[in-house]
């Protein structure tokens, strides 16, 4: 028998892993229904073109083809719903024109995938190509439009002092910064930097299976999604059903990273086809297709400027940027830069003047990708602060320390009016510096340079905002109202003690590898003293979970976890009354531990959970007048987001002859408050760092001037593998939050938010003897070599 596991700090192996490791996990494509048909798409070879005609006759006449749909069949369903509908919304299928390469033009449904592909290839589309808007700067200044007839390609420009008029009244820091620039004792350091577009690459591509049952007039949908409830809402709204007639299941989801946080045309079209054909209809994205049918991330170009004194006091930080939204707005699209704005000033108590223009281009839509705006924002501040440190000849850790928000500033108010819950940046950085023997590293670096070796040391700090709150942010667009599911991104947890004394926990999350079944079992096991092995956690199922928001924005533990904690508290209160009756004691004296309950001070005076459950379900055995059953549901709406933070350090060596970069060490010291399962938290940081290094070193979505994606396959879009990465060294500080009862902060995105700039800082440090000041990502050898050649003159 496993005893109860401590909620805080208990390292237990993940409940999820045996099935996944053995290849027995059930993903959407593992589910089989009788009579399934398969959907495939005809996709545009042009980035921007008018469609003159679509000839589906040849495809329709092929044996095994059930239907070929164009926009004419589905226009009445409207476009794909978006939570922040600024810009052109994506039609279910191209409507008269295509706006990016790979846009779905027609959908074929056939008896199997091979026939479906053959038929899709035989659909003849006559296009009339139009000029494509690809370059972000040209999108702002040029005369071509990504959508014909649009007045401008700029959808919205976000300003730090005016990001939510009417809610926040903020001072514009730009005049004061301009004034500071006139001072004799200041330097102004400015650099344009690209934060390149990335292609999210989940190991499991997206997949959907729709089954419209005409007998019950109800639809069931399996989708590899991070937000099952929002999808249920969107399907209900699109087809005019009440949401309780749409049942969405997200079974195992093999990675999401934000890319499965969208409503997609294929999810709506499979439902439509299933309804039309009276058969279940499946679509599984192929790996090659994924770069065209799933959102992409990042894609900013911006100039960062620091104005500061020669002794390290920063008097102003400015960012002027453009962010690429792609062709259509989907879930959050134009709101992603706002998430960057939330952490624009990093860990520093400095004046901020920030503006980012969101432009439409003839490329795939961008939206949330692990970090979503925050890696971009953190990259810019952390790169320019390093350049400022180099300019004034101060150690980069010293400049940071000098400008930190201090421990006593918390709760601290940012330049855009948000309140950061808790922080102790100095202790965190000091821990990193001590852990790595920073001075020793610098000596080693100097000695290596004497030998002609180019070692670089890079430091990056970050502050992250996650578990979005307060509730009012829903009115900004951070809610699911557009999907007919009004919510404030509250967490949901239901704890049920079953009649045999086991516990079922139902949560409203949609995890894709985060280990919720394990973490939540720890929370409930700890609160109720119930055996860890006797707690089963289910998620991603709209018929089971009363409400749910999904998994994104590093929110689950801090929000749904807190809800579950509170549900467990409710259960323990009722159970205490039952046990008090059983043991003839006072409810206040009942303690839950070791698989049951006992009276405080007399551990032998006890009952098991099976015995408690029996009484709970047989009211005649319980206290007078109590309600049978033992379960509770809680919804938790935190009063604030959580604001984790950390300091990372990389040691790299550059081969100046080739530009090759080798990462010698990578060290992270993060702070997410209390940790429920430190092993799982480590895992989140590991994956996050790997993805940040992926951006720093390898990944880049490259479109040519005609809008063709040149890096659409994994041959040309290298993602990091274990073999490319060093063993990460992790350390921790612990600054709990008070916005939830467990004192936990999110950690899913922190590693990504902290790592790209740490690597770039290290590589620039390594080649600084050549005079290199900045290199744009990804730091492929050719770029590093080019930068050295250019600096050498």
């Amino acid at each position: 028998m496993t005893t109860s596991v401590s909620a805080m700090g208990g390292i237990v192996r993940r409940k999820e892993d045996p099935a996944l490791i053995a290849g027995r996990g059930q993903y959407v494509d593992d589910i089989r229904l009788n009579g399934e048909a398969v959907m495939a798409f005809v996709r545009s070879p042009f980035a921007h073109a008018r469609i003159n005609s679509i000839d589906t006759a040849a495809a329709e006449s092929m044996p095994g083809v059930l239907a070929v749909y164009t926009i004419e069949d589905v226009r009445d369903l409207g476009p794909v719903l978006a939570q922040v509908p600024v810009g052109v919304l994506r039609p279910l299928l191209a409507d008269g024109a295509v706006h990016h390469v790979g846009e779905a033009v027609a959908a074929v449904v056939a008896e199997n995938s091979y026939v479906a592909r053959d038929a899709a290839d035989s659909v003849m589309v006559d296009y009339d190509p139009l000029p494509a808007v690809v370059d972000m700067k040209a999108a702002v200044t040029g005369t071509d439009r990504a959508h014909e007839g649009a007045e401008s390609n700029v959808l919205v420009t976000w300003f730090s002092h005016d990001w939510w008029p009417g809610v926040f009244e903020l001072e514009d820091h730009r005049p004061a910064i301009a004034e500071a620039k006139q001072r004799d004792d200041v330097v102004v350091v400015s650099q344009e930097m690209l934060n390149q577009r990335l292609i999210p690459t989940a190991i499991e591509p997206r997949a959907v299976l729709a089954d419209w049952n005409h007998g019950y007039d109800r639809v069931k949908l399996w989708s590899s999604t991070q937000m099952p409830h929002a999808l249920a809402g969107a399907v209900a709204k699109t087809f005019g059903l009440p949401s309780n007639e749409v049942h969405v299941v997200a079974p195992e989801v093999g990675g999401g990273f934000g890319a499965k946080l969208n409503i997609y045309p294929d999810e709506i079209l499979t439902v439509f086809a299933s309804k039309d054909l009276n058969r279940p209809v499946r679509w599984t994205e192929t790996r090659r297709e994924s770069a065209f049918s799933t959102i992409q991330g990042r894609g900013w170009v911006a100039t960062a400027t620091i104005t500061g004194t020669r002794d390290g006091e920063i008097l102003g930080y400015e960012l002027d940027g453009i962010a690429d939204m792609g062709a259509y707005s989907q879930n959050f699209t134009v709101a992603i830069p706002v998430l960057g704005l939330f952490v624009a000033q990093g860990q520093y108590d400095i004046p901020l003047a920030w503006q980012v223009a969101c432009v439409q281009t003839n490329t795939q839509t961008t939206d949330a990708y692990r970090g979503a705006g925050r890696p971009e924002a953190s990259y810019y501040i952390e790169r320019i602060i390093d350049m400022y440190a180099a300019e004034i000849g101060m150690d980069p850790t010293e400049v940071r320390r000098k400008n930190f928000f201090k421990k006593e500033d918390f709760p601290a108010t940012t330049a855009i009016g948000l309140t950061m819950d808790s922080g102790d940046y100095e202790t965190n950085l000091d821990t990193l510096i001590a852990d790595v023997d920073y001075a020793g590293l610098r000596s080693m670096q100097a000695a290596a340079r004497e030998e002609g070796r180019y070692i670089g040391i890079g430091v990056g700090t970050y502050v992250e905002v996650c578990g979005f709150a307060p509730s009012v942010l829903a009115e900004f667009g951070f809610g699911w109202d557009a999907y007919g599911m009004p919510t404030s991104f509250s967490g949901s947890g239901l704890v049920r003690i079953n009649p045999d004394g086991s516990a079922t926990v139902i949560i409203g999350t949609g995890p894709s590898g985060q280990g919720h079944q394990t973490t939540w079992a720890q929370v409930v096991s700890d609160r109720l003293g119930i055996d860890f092995d006797n707690v089963r956690v289910t998620h991603g199922n709209t018929a089971e979970s009363p409400t749910g928001v999904g998994t994104f924005g590093s929110r689950s533990a801090a929000v749904d976890g807190a809800a579950t904690y509170e549900a467990a508290e409710k259960v323990s209160k009722k159970a205490a009354d039952i046990v008090a009756h059983m043991l003839e004691a006072s409810a206040d004296d009942i303690r839950f531990a070791d698989g049951g309950a006992h009276v405080a001070g007399s551990p032998g005076h006890k009952v098991t959970w099976a015995e408690i459950a029996e009484v709970a379900y047989k009211p005649h055995k319980g206290p007078e007048g109590f309600e049978a059953g033992l379960e509770a549901h809680a919804v938790f709406s935190p009063g604030n987001a959580t604001w984790p933070f950390g300091s990372h350090l990389a040691v790299v060596e550059v081969d100046p002859e080739t530009g090759n970069v080798e990462i010698l060490r990578y060290v992270g010291v993060d702070d997410c408050g209390n940790r429920i399962n430190p092993m799982i938290v480590d895992g989140q940081i590991h994956g996050g760092i790997a993805q940040g290094i992926g951006q720093a070193m390898f990944e880049e979505a490259i479109y040519d001037e005609d809008g063709n994606l040149l890096t659409g396959s994994l041959i040309d879009y290298p993602i990091p593998t274990a073999g490319d990465l060093p063993a990460f060294e992790l350390g921790w500080t612990n600054t709990p939050t008070d916005v939830n009862p467990m004192g936990v902060k999110g950690i899913g995105e922190a590693g990504t938010i902290g790592s790209a700039q740490t690597i770039v800082n290290a590589v620039v440090d390594a080649v600084s003897p050549f005079g290199v000041k900045h290199i744009d990502m990804p730091l492929r050898p050719k770029r590093v070599w080019d930068a050295i050649q250019k600096a050498r003159g």
Binding site: V661, M697, D716, P718, D724, K782
Partner: protein
């Protein structure tokens, strides 16, 4: 990622495979399938018939006949990389095989398959070229030998006829006083992934001087290429770092260097020199 319809035959013998190729002009032979299957799934290549020789007995041996190694059509990259005979007699080929693909690819793909595929950025192609290997091609009309120098014709194009199978690669062993080596810059940095640029070198030392040399490049042009100018400049020198660097300066003579996502013409030309020099230095170290 769904190939067009095709027929498939798992040949039980080489003769059966050769007949199938001869009888079906649209047929393609397959060993490990590491290059063929992805091309088919992308519909970039759609053979009407795939002739799988993976089960044909007797093709998976590395034979050491004293002065040469014969590597059969079904010898996997991993076997080539870990063979003591190859490591000592044709080190450049063993090193190139060890740097081909990833673990899964090395366990399934074959040395002969990679050579016949003639990818511009493959590893073992440069090694067999520098080592002066001979390709043995078979068809129903007989067997012929093709020198490595004549084998690589263009991008993804070898001298093999559609009805021929590369049944064996014969590699002359480097003897006493000789050494060989292969190295590259990979697309993901270090030596991982396809070659941005790579070089194989074979050097024979005699009395402290370079008596013979052969250098081949991969990744930089439309096909793996012998860098004859480098060999010419190197022979007769003392093989010092300076001499090697000077000779390597001629690496891309006569080569049309192609710019791609991984480097400009200038950068790849520079890398060709760097990796030619590194391979030569390593080969000299192995020879002495």
């Amino acid at each position: 990622m769904y190939p067009r319809s095709f027929e498939y035959v798992a040949a039980a013998s080489l003769d059966e495979a050769l007949s199938a190729l001869a009888d079906n002009p649209g047929a393609k032979v397959m060993t490990g399938g590491m290059s063929l299957i992805p091309l088919m799934k992308l519909r970039l290549f759609s053979p009407s018939l795939v002739v799988d020789i993976g089960r044909v007995p007797g093709l998976d041996a590395i034979d050491d006949s004293g002065d040469q190694l014969a590597i059969g059509a079904l010898v996997r990259h991993a076997a080539t990389a870990s063979s003591d005979a190859v490591k000592s007699g044709a080190a450049a080929l063993a090193q190139a095989a060890a740097l081909t693909g990833d673990v899964q690819v090395r366990n399934r793909g074959t040395t002969c398959g990679a050579i016949a595929h003639a990818d511009i950025a493959a590893d073992q192609t440069a090694a067999v070229l520098a080592l002066g290997a001979t390709m043995v091609a078979k068809s129903t009309s007989g067997e012929r030998e093709i020198a490595a120098a004549d084998f690589f014709v263009d991008t993804l194009t070898s001298a093999l006829e559609p009805d021929e199978i590369l049944v064996e690669v014969r590699v002359p062993k480097t003897g006493a006083g000789s050494g060989s080596a292969y190295g590259k810059l990979g697309r993901r940095g270090g030596q991982s992934d396809y070659a941005v640029a790579g070089a194989a070198a074979v050097v024979t030392m005699d009395g402290g001087n370079v008596a013979a040399a052969s250098v081949a490049l991969t990744g930089v042009g439309t096909k793996p290429t012998l860098a004859a100018g480098v060999a010419e400049a190197l022979v007769g020198t003392d093989g010092s770092a300076e001499a090697v660097a000077g000779a390597a300066g001629r690496a891309t003579e006569g080569v049309t260097v192609l710019e791609d996502l991984y480097g400009s013409e200038e950068y790849k030309s520079h890398l060709a020199q760097v990796y030619a020099a590194r391979a030569i230095n390593a080969a000299i170290a192995a020879a002495t």
